[in-house]
Structure formats: C-alpha cells, structure tokens
C-alpha cells in the first residue's frame, strides 16, 4: 500500500512561543519539532505499510528550517518526504494549505492519505476534510483504531459518546486521533538512516501555483487580531452543610451539562 502521511513541523512546545506583533504569525526558529499529534499518523502509516509491504511518504508545508522535525518522522521509518517550502506561503489560510498539500498528493498518487486531526500550533482542524474534498476521496475522520483488509480500510471513529465503525474502499483519507496507536521511538539506526533519506522541497511554482493563489492574497480569511486568553477566574467554593449536592446540581444545570 502506498501511503502518504501529512505532518507538520512546529516550534518546540517546551520553549516559549512568540507571535510576530505585526503579522500575528508564529515566529519559527530553525530548530522545529514534529508536531506530537503527527507521531500517531506516522505510526499508523508505518504499521499499514509494514503489513502490506508498502511505503510511507511524508507530506508537509511550511518553513523547512533545518528539517529536524521531518527527520524525526523519517527516523521512525518513513521512506521519503516532500516539504513545500516557499516564502510566498507565509500567511496562508487552512484552505490554501489543503490546496498545496493536495497538489503534492495528486503527484504522489497514494492509496491512503493519513493526517492528524489538528495541528498543535494552528488548531484549525479542517485541513484533513478539505483535502478529502479536493482530492475526491472518502474521508474517515477521528480514527481511534485502524485496520485494513481486501483493499478496504476500517476504522473506529471516535464520537462524543462512543465510536462508530466506518469503512471505505481505497483510495481514501484518514484522520487519526492521538492515542490511536503507541508511536515507536526512533532507533539510532533510524536516526542515521534519516540523514540520507530523500527530502524534496518543491516551490509553489513547481506545483502550478502563482503568488496570487497563496499567502494572504489567496486566502479568503484574514487574522485581524490576536489577544491573550483571559486569565482563568477564581473557582467557586461550595461548602457542604448537608445541602451542597443541590448547589452542585443547580450549577451543573446552569452550565447545561445535565
């Protein structure tokens, strides 16, 4: 099975994030890490590839930096990577991201596209579904368990109250929840092998886009402001003098959880 896994490099969450005060873009250092939520998609891809004798190609868009985050996923065992790295992409909305990734995926022609459910820096959570639409693929989202047989992919789709069993014929797109599998740790052998694995870095022109198609110009959305989240207020203390349970029930009713 030929598998493509969409991954993203993000600034290390253990170091403080900074936003550019003018543009509101995340300032990206040279050293970035693989988005932790992507490790699950990579692991699912590797397991399916191992079971079917297939390959895993990483597909990514964003400032490449020193490609450390991409190499993390290559060290896990992915075979190659395509990273679209073009300054014109700065400020692209989620739909532009999906269009650019779709252009790469059309060239790669995978049987299965795997993505996380949302990135840990942008959190739009819409790219996988947009990709499926652009590529005309059935989209199996929020998988908490994945298996394949007879050219079909089966998932357990996580819902608010349980899960649904969904299946689709290949080719298809899959979004994987964190915790769906236990991602492997890269070995030293894997880290050394990742050094020489191919990483293509096409520009937007290579993919047939012009400057007006991408970045803020190509995006229908614009970030008009960024504000710090409000400080969390003090909690409310309910003192039990025999009737506290009624207070708590009333409170839960007020916030409409019961």
């Amino acid at each position: 099975m030929k598998i493509a896994v969409c991954v993203k490099q993000i600034p290390d969450p253990n170091t403080p994030y900074a936003l550019d005060p003018e543009t509101h873009f995340v300032q990206r250092p040279q050293d970035q890490v693989l988005d932790d939520t992507d490790r699950y998609g990579v692991e699912v891809g590797l397991q399916l590839a191992e079971a079917t004798g297939g390959t895993v190609t990483l597909v990514s868009m964003g400032p490449a930096g020193n490609l450390q985050g991409i190499r993390q996923a290559l060290a896990m065992g992915a075979h190659k990577a395509v990273v679209v790295n073009d300054p014109a992409l700065r400020g692209s909305g989620a739909l532009v991201t999906a269009k650019v990734l779709a252009a790469v995926l059309r060239k790669e022609e995978p049987d299965l596209v795997i993505a996380g459910t949302e990135s840990t820096d942008g959190y739009t959570g819409v790219v996988p579904q947009e990709l499926a639409e652009l590529l005309g693929l059935p989209s199996l989202t929020f998988a908490r368990k994945v298996s394949q047989a007879d050219g079909k992919i089966h998932i357990e789709r996580l819902t608010a109250t349980g899960y649904e069993v969904v299946e689709a014929a290949l080719p298809a797109l899959l979004s994987v929840t964190s915790g769906a599998v236990e991602p492997r740790y890269p070995t030293f052998k894997g880290i050394m092998a990742a050094k020489t694995k191919p990483i293509e870095q096409p520009t937007i022109a290579d993919l047939g886009f012009g400057p007006a198609d991408v970045g803020p110009a190509g995006s229908a959305q614009e970030i008009v402001g960024v504000r710090a989240a409000p400080e969390r207020g003090a909690g409310r203390k309910v003192v039990d003098e025999g009737e506290a349970h009624l207070d708590i029930v009333r409170l839960l009713e007020q916030v409409k959880v019961i």
Partner: protein, 379 residues
C-alpha cells in the same frame, strides 16, 4: 578539536531521554523499593536498539560505537541507575566478550539475541577471594574428553539470573597460572544461581552469586584462545570502565538538575534556598564536575571508537566520574535536607546507587594504580 556533538547524537539523546522519562522514571522508585527487575522494560530498551549500539549491523546492531552507548547510558542513569547498569552490563560484559573474542559460530549463536536485548549475558570474573587480583582465581575448568568440567564460585555477577539471561562468560583456571574464558549457557546442569543479593543500591538490577558443581559444557564453549582470559578481561574492562563513567555522569547530572529545581523552589527565611551561597555554590561546583567528567568520558569513548589506545583515559574517566557522582549525591541530599533522606525524592535513591560506582569494574584504588603505572611509576 570539536566539542560539538553531531545532530544525530543530539537527536538520539533526545529520544533516549524521552524514553527514560516516560518508561523508566515513573516506576524507578517502585522497582527500587520492591527489588523488582522489570524484564519487560529491558525488552523495550532492546526494541529501541540500545543493546546493539556498538555492534555491527550484521548482528542486528547499529555499528555506532562507544560514544553513542555512553550517551544512552548517561540518559538512562539520569533517572535510574538500576536500568543503566542493566544496559551497561548487558552490552559491555554480556555481548562484548562474545563479539570481541568469539568465533563465528559463537557469535552467530549468541549475538543476535544479545544485541536485540531479547537475552542478557553476564560476565563472571569476581570470586570470593579474587577480584582485581585475578591471579587468585580458584574456579577450575578441566578438559574431560570434549567437555569442560567446571567447579568453583563467582560473586556479584550482574544480569546472571534474570528471566532473560541466556549465558554467563566466566574466567577459570584451565592449567597452572593459565586463565581462560568459557561460555556457560543458562540452565546447564551444575550451574547454580544463588538467590539475589539484598543490595544498598541498584536494587532493580539483578545480581547473584554463582556456583559451579561438576558443570559440563562442550569444549567448543572456550571463548577465544586458551590461556588468554586475563588479557581478554582487561580489554573488556577498559570498555566497561568508560561505560561506567557515563553512568556516573548521568547520576551526577540527575543530581544537579534535581538540586537546581529544589534550590529555586524551596523557600526558607522568605527566599529560595538557592539565594544562599552555601547552596548556590554547591550547585556551581556540581555543574563544573559534571561537565569535566562528561568531557573525560567522551574523550575516552572517542579514542576507543577511533581504534586508539585508551586504557589510561578509561581509568581516568571512571575514577573521576564515579567520585564526583558520589560527591554530587551527597551535595544533592544535603540541599534537599530531610526530603533528601526519604523515599519520596529520587536523590535518596541516587545516594544509595552511586557508591558502588567507586567499586565495580575496578575500585578507585585500582584505577589510581592503572593510572600510576601508565605514568611510569614503579607501582
């Protein structure tokens, strides 16, 4: 001269640190309290390739050398000495003698599993009355037809009685003043594993006394040339000493980090205790010692990886790193005060774990002897 690690070493250190933090650190105190050897975690270290770091790919290793192994051992020791010594002994004393001195048949039989961490090997050198004084070895192996018949006793043998243990390589007298190494497969009749020691530290690591009572193994289990046992274990110990130094660096680094965090957080007389020079300067001294020990260790490892002589450097690294590690645990315990003396903080465990680093694989006194002789002194 270049003190910068390669990007691959940086990435690898990060992976091992993540592994150690997630898979080992949360359980280390429990294993220590229960003297529990967690075989399943050792297997996971095997899956991560840690037991195969210095061995060639044909046996399933990554062919990366002693420096890479040192980084792995250091990161494991930073959270738990027991798992670090299990790894160190598994590689340096279990697999390395087979790799260095075994014939093709012995390597093909034992190495793939040892390298993958599916099995462990021990190295039986020390006896009740012979440690560094190997000339006093009493264990005898007598050739009877095409079998060695072994009688004797070994003490303090790491990884010799775990559920994963596949073999122990022992040194034995095979003639007058003739010491040879022989492979004893686990489960051989007459190979008796004593109950585990109750140790002050390294409690989750597996250590036993061994007895051999008319234990018979095939003549082909001789490891390397007959009569070369003494030279063989000197070579094995040089390698092991660098790895022990790396363990010491890891423990000292762990102490430094714990101490810094506590010194910044713990308040006394209205300010963090780290605002007092008595505490702050201890931390400064610890940081200098850790850095110096690390450099000595990496230098010895790099010499080994470049195929150059490193006996002197190995002894220096082992001596210095183990002594500063013991110092660091003492400083950390002092900084933690009462909390450093109870099980709830890792530093009390580190305090118990560090001491044996000045003893195992050649005591500090033996290291000074090796170094002194290397300096041309008539010791």
């Amino acid at each position: 001269m270049d003190f910068d690690p390669s990007p691959e070493h940086v990435a690898f250190r990060k992976v091992v640190r993540e592994f150690a933090e997630a898979e080992i650190a949360p359980h280390a105190a429990d294993w220590d309290r229960e003297h529990h050897f967690p075989a399943e975690v050792v297997r996971r270290m095997g899956d991560l390739g840690l037991f195969g770091l210095p061995f060639p790919e044909e046996y399933g290793g990554s062919g990366s050398g002693l420096l890479t192994l040192c980084i792995a051992i250091e990161e494991v020791a930073r959270v738990d000495a027991s798992m670090a010594i299990t790894l160190e002994a598994g590689v340096s004393l279990g697999a390395n003698p087979i790799y260095r001195f075994g014939d093709e048949e012995q390597k093909a039989r034992w190495l793939p599993d040892l390298v993958a961490g599916r099995t462990l090997g021990g190295f039986g050198l020390t006896e009740p009355e012979a440690g560094s004084d190997a000339g006093a070895t009493r264990t005898r192996a007598v050739l009877d037809g095409d079998e060695w018949v072994i009688n004797g006793e070994k003490v303090f043998i790491t990884n010799s009685g775990t559920p994963l243990t596949a073999l122990v390589t022992i040194t034995a007298l095979t003639g007058p003043r003739e010491i040879s190494s022989i492979i004893i497969p686990a489960g051989t009749p007459g190979f008796l594993v004593e109950p585990p020691y109750r140790k002050m530290g390294w409690r989750a690591s597996d250590t036993h006394g061994l007895r051999f009572e008319d234990c018979r193994v095939p003549a082909a289990n001789l490891l390397g040339e007959r009569g070369r046992g003494f030279r063989q274990f000197l070579t094995i110990l040089d390698h092991g000493r660098v790895a022990i130094a790396a363990m010491a660096v890891g423990i000292a680094q762990g102490c430094l980090e714990q101490s810094l965090a506590y010194a910044k957080e713990r308040q006394a007389f209205g300010r963090p205790i780290g605002a007092n020079q008595a505490v702050a300067f201890r931390c400064s001294d610890m940081a200098v010692a850790v850095e110096a020990a690390r450099l000595l260790t990496y230098r010895a490892a790099q010499l080994a990886d470049r195929g150059r002589p490193y006996r002197q450097e190995a002894a220096m690294a082992k001596l210095y790193a183990s002594e500063i590690a013991v110092d660091a645990t003492r400083h950390a315990t002092q900084i933690f005060g009462g909390y450093g003396y109870v099980d709830e903080t890792p530093v009390s465990r580190f305090y118990r774990d560090a001491k044996v680093l000045e003893i195992g694989e050649g005591t500090s006194e033996i290291q000074r002897l090796v170094i002194g002789r290397g300096l041309g002194l008539p010791l």
